[in-house]
């Protein structure tokens, strides 16, 4: 029983990280129709940056996470502004360039940080366990869940309550109409891309105590983000949230119960959803 509960909390934690990762991807794809295959690299880069800031420069964990997020967001902005903006609508070119960039980033990381996995401890305040009804849950994992929910609420407020959010929602629903209404779609794209990249980078850093950082982290995380977005529907925050938790559970329980069929358990629902309901559970537009 305890095992299930701990597994569940771990699943929700993973779900929280996945949400931070895939919310960005979902917005980028929902708004800009760009399949950003560099997104896994953003996650990994954020982790490497953050971990380095803590281990080499002895910065505070959370400060490092914010700086890492900012750095990745800046990189995202540069990529969007100077590379992706020229490729609107050219699907094959977008795939080629985002994959090419992920190769470059992955190799640079390998060069800078070598091939050994780097692990890092949770911030000292959150180490150890919190007892809950007699079971000791990892405090840090609970903290991640909390942070993910806070950010989810923040994103929801952004999308629902601010002008920027209204513009983003308009752009997701109907980009041409949004342009006609005077929304500076090009600027919006850059902002959203930076936001998505920054979220991914932040997620990478705060996930580092659990997942650690290693070459190949990008390729491990990207498919999960894609599955979440498919399941939840592109452009939908609620979809990303629910999808993340579903995937978190499928991943952890799949690994634990059916290790041989773990990937089956993970990807089959995605395939089925795509086959039966191409716009995902909550998506607004068909893929």
């Amino acid at each position: 029983m305890n095992l299930w509960l701990i597994l569940s909390v771990n699943s929700i934690t993973l779900g929280g990280l996945l949400f931070l990762l895939s919310a960005g991807f979902s917005l980028i794809f929902g708004l800009m129709r760009i399949p950003n295959l560099t997104h896994g690299s953003f996650f990994m880069l954020g982790a490497y940056f953050g971990v380095s800031l803590v281990l080499w420069f002895h910065l505070d964990f959370w400060l490092a996470a914010l700086i890492a997020a900012f750095l990745v967001a800046a990189l995202g902005g540069v990529i969007e502004r100077f590379v992706l903006r020229r490729l609107a609508g050219a699907e094959q070119a977008q795939v080629l360039v985002t994959l090419g960039l992920s190769f470059m980033i992955a190799d640079l990381c390998l060069m800078e940080w070598s091939g050994d996995p780097i692990s890092i401890d949770a911030p000292s305040a959150l180490r150890g366990a919190t007892p809950f009804f007699g079971i000791a849950f990892s405090t840090y994992r609970l903290a991640i869940i909390f942070i993910a929910l806070v950010i989810a609420a923040g994103l929801w407020a952004l999308l629902d309550r601010t002008r920027l959010g209204a513009m983003i929602r308009a752009g997701v629903d109907d980009p041409q109409m949004a342009r006609v209404c005077g929304i500076r779609v090009a600027h919006l794209f850059t902002v959203v891309f930076c936001l998505g990249a920054g979220l991914a980078g932040f997620a990478g850093m705060i996930g580092a105590p659990i997942l650690s950082v290693y070459p190949g982290l990008d390729a491990d995380m990207l498919p999960l983000a894609l599955v979440v977005v498919i399941l939840g529907g592109t452009g939908s925050l609620l979809g990303s949230l629910l999808g993340s938790f579903v995937i978190g559970f499928l991943y952890n329980f799949g690994q634990a119960l059916l290790p041989e069929l773990a990937y089956f358990v993970l990807f089959l629902p995605m395939v089925l959803i795509l086959v039966m309901r191409p716009q995902g559970l909550f998506g607004r537009r068909t893929l």
Binding site: E91, V95, L99, A106, L110, M111, L261, V271, L287
Partner: protein, 321 residues
Amino acid sequence: MKRAAQGLALLALATVPLWAGGSFYVNIMSQVLISAIFAAALDVLVGYAGLISLGHAGLFGVAAYGAAIALGAGIGHFGAIAIALVAALVVTAIFAVLALRTTGIGFIMITLALGQILWGLAYRWIDLTNGDNGLSAASRPAPFGLSLASADSFYFATLILFCIAIAAIAIFTRSPFGASLRGTRDQPRRMTALGYDVWAIRFFACLFSGFWSGVAGILFFYYNQFVSPHALALSASAEVLLMVIAGGSGTLLGPIVGAALVVAMKNVASAYIERWNFTLGAIFVLIVLFMPEGLVPGTARLLRRGSIALRRGAAPAENPR
């Protein structure tokens, strides 16, 4: 002009063992040809059907593992190859039925997921696939009693299959079916209105593509005499897709050039350039920025511009504008 170039290329390929400079390089050429078959097979979908697959390494891998598992079960080489091809076709058919429910990004995502499922099976179904340790082949097949054990002999076998594959794909894409396939890429709604069965056309194109991907997978298995889950990883699917797009999708030469580029970078340049992965990625980005249609069409475009400029320069009095 084109025929002469093709003839020269064929001659060069046929004499590789003479000028390549040792079995290391002959082996690299084998790898180039195997990747070229795989890339050309994928191009049938990407370039001619307009369907981008990010899971094709799964089909490649199913054939490789099919041969490996059959061999391990005691079946002879030719039986193993037959089983591998059948397995590739069956899995391709399943892929196609699921993936053809959507197009565009949906197709990319479903094929990615299906590829990952197969990778996961190869990785985790240890009883069948030996997991991460992979499966090996004790020997290579000996068609008509000729041994393929040496680098040279295996290269020639690969070259023959490469020629057959490229010829088959060329004939296929220039056929009436190929014309209808391209039509579904450009105007699927119109094609339906004209009376074409767009789904069926795409389905058969998938089968054709899966078959030749399987051939490449079998060659790959016998080349290495080994297969591991890495052959089905997302990176493998991404790599072959990049070969197609970078070389120029929708052309016959494009995937071949793309394959040569990637294999050369991986095997040869890696000896000289330490960060060859980075360089490869940078090359891809540059291709997108300057020749988004791919290396082969892009170069053709530049050559045309160059020859027009030359002609203008040579006869300035003709067009006094």
